[in-house]
Symmetry: C2
Subunit: 382 residues, 2 copies
């Protein structure tokens, strides 16, 4: 019985993590969870999974929840609550499925307390990869990828030696606007951007997919998780999202992980690693039925955010903190209909241009740059 704590339970990865736990009631037990403001969902989860600790974002929601909780369920809130979930002493593994750089501090605390972490929160690695990975190395903590691309690479790496890697090949569906030119992106709506062709995901990551920033964040995440220089990370457009990513070794052999687009596969793999559990009712890949797999070179002029991510990653230091904060802020503005889709790119570009890179920033510097970037973006909207 593996005991799991889950940060970000009501999001897309969170609810699919609960699916995996539900499918294997004798193998997994949810012992702690965090949610944002959706306390009705939280109530249902508590009733079904009977965790011993729940954390919500706001004090008032915590107090509402406490009033009708069964005995033995501790209710907390805010960053303190999130950290308590992240570091729960009975947990064998933490699933970090929160969105954005808010996941950074709890991740670091979980590492300090020696937890194995299944990490879906890519922004944490983008904003402070050098600090997170150094802490994980120092404490001997495993960071198990949950993103389908990184899970594919991680699976392909089993039984292999890092020294033999020639490059990582991260596949990209192209997102909801892959067949549009830049000119056709003028005036696209939030609803259009949220219509991803292959994956059902949360709003922020779906917008990131449409702008190709998601792939950029994944490149940076891969750089940190697998300790691979940017020159050895390629992105390949593959519209069917069947090959989830690949490793090319220096003998020219390429190892790949394939499957139907279903996030429960990489989530479950992180929870069962190095074993694999059955998924008897899940859809199997049928390549004969699919018939064709397409591959195209990624156009860095068409997808400017991907280029920004490579550039920020190569400059290193605080540059990826700015990239991530500017993106989070700009995407939020787009989702609120306050800026256009293409303005996301422009704002990120401006934020990067205006920033003087600081190499090896400490945590306080990262927090300060993160806040300053978000503030600047909000001021540009006026």
């Amino acid at each position: 019985m593996k005991k799991i704590s889950l940060m970000g339970a009501t999001g897309s990865i969170g609810t699919q993590t609960l699916d995996v736990i539900r499918e294997h009631p004798h193998d997994f037990k949810l012992i702690a969870l965090s949610v944002g403001r959706n306390i009705n969902e939280a109530r249902k989860m508590i009733a079904e999974f009977t965790p011993s600790l729940v954390s919500v974002q706001r004090k008032e929601d915590a107090e509402t929840l406490k009033s009708d909780m069964p005995a033995g369920v501790k209710v907390m809130y805010g960053e303190e609550g999130l950290i308590e979930v992240a570091c729960h002493q009975d947990a064998d593994i933490l699933v970090n499925a929160v969105l954005g750089s808010v996941g950074l501090n709890p991740t670091l605390q979980a590492i300090e307390s020696g937890k194995t972490i299944a990490i879906a929160n890519k922004e944490t690695l983008v904003t402070a990869g050098h600090i997170v990975m150094e802490a994980a190395r120092r404490k001997g903590v495993s960071l198990l990828p949950v993103d389908s691309e990184h899970s594919a690479i991680f699976q392909a790496l089993q039984g292999e030696q890092d020294k033999n890697i020639e490059k990582l090949i991260i596949t990209a569906s192209g997102g909801s606007f892959r067949d549009r030119t830049r000119e056709e992106l003028v005036g696209v709506t939030v609803k259009e951007a949220l219509n991803h062709p292959n994956w059902s995901m949360g709003a922020k990551i779906t917008i990131d997919s449409a702008s190709m920033m998601n792939k950029g964040l994944e490149v940076i995440e891969a750089h940190w998780l697998f300790n691979i220089p940017y020159d050895k990370i390629d992105v390949l457009q593959h519209r069917e999202s069947i090959i989830h990513s690949m490793i090319q070794f220096h003998d020219t052999s390429v190892m790949a992980q394939l499957g139907t687009p279903d996030m429960r596969v990489p989530i479950q793999y992180a929870l069962t690693y190095p074993d694999r559990f059955e998924r008897p009712r899940a859809k199997r890949l049928d390549l004969a039925e699919i018939g064709l797999l397409h591959f195209e070179k990624m156009d860095m002029d068409r997808f400017r955010c991907l280029r920004f991510a490579y550039e920020a990653g190569r400059m290193g230091g605080s540059m990826t903190t700015v990239l991530n904060a500017a993106n989070e802020a700009a995407v939020a503005l787009f989702l609120e209909d306050k800026i256009s889709f293409l303005a996301i790119e422009d704002m990120i570009e401006r934020a990067l241009n205006e920033h003087e890179v600081i190499q090896n920033p400490d945590l306080d510097t990262i927090r300060e740059i993160d806040e300053r970037t978000r503030l600047a973006i909000s001021q540009w909207v006026g």
Copy 2:
């Protein structure tokens, strides 16, 4: 420095094994080799690689060779010579690249002497898989696959557990006649059959590819190498030969090995396993350049030999010995222009129909059935 003995040095796998050795002069040393009748080629190989033992098929060729050999090169011939190469006391690994069931006895002798074997000689496993695998288990000997499909499966299996395998998916290019109907196969020439779309291989295996018997033999080989029942081995048509084969695990995840069609990759992997050596000048896979990968269901009525192989494999015992011997004999007759292409299938079908299966046959029984089958086929031609 790994010391290698090589059976079948002048064949397609043999010469490509020499390429691999040539590319890594500080890692590999050829110490023994066998050839058939091509003693001119043998002379060149001896001059280049200075092995200490050479075996040829015929006594007269051995005597010719002896007359102009440098000191320290031992020359032998016939089955005795082949076994001496197979069991050479200084060899760390034997590459068995001979063609046909003639490789069986040397393989068994090499196993008895505890050699690791890189096996390209699939007929040995088809004709007597139960004996070979039982001997390998008893002696703790590793059989490392060299066929590109089995190497792909073997690579995908690294870091995984056998219990989690749901099925093997062996890919098939379709061979030189994949786009022809059965009606269009009437009267095809040897030259047409030898024109394989993707792989440059020996004559027998290229004919086997055209008839799809090669895939059938590979299914049986996979059954023995990976100890997987036939119901869990699928064949998938994939005309580009880029995905070399796959494993589907019971969590629905599919692991695959990809690459340009180049036999030196799986040969080298068998020689370096579990490590991988560089191949700096070799062509890399470029999926964007390839653009499309095609997959189709395999038609068992169109490709009767594949169906025969599954049927013979499922019946087990001596049935696969008959399948292999009938195929070897019929293909030889086709290559000599004595029978038509479609008569290969008819002869195999007749041989299987006329055979009463013997379960768990011993080596003498296998040899007797093999000879009897070849004799019958030769008599049917009249």
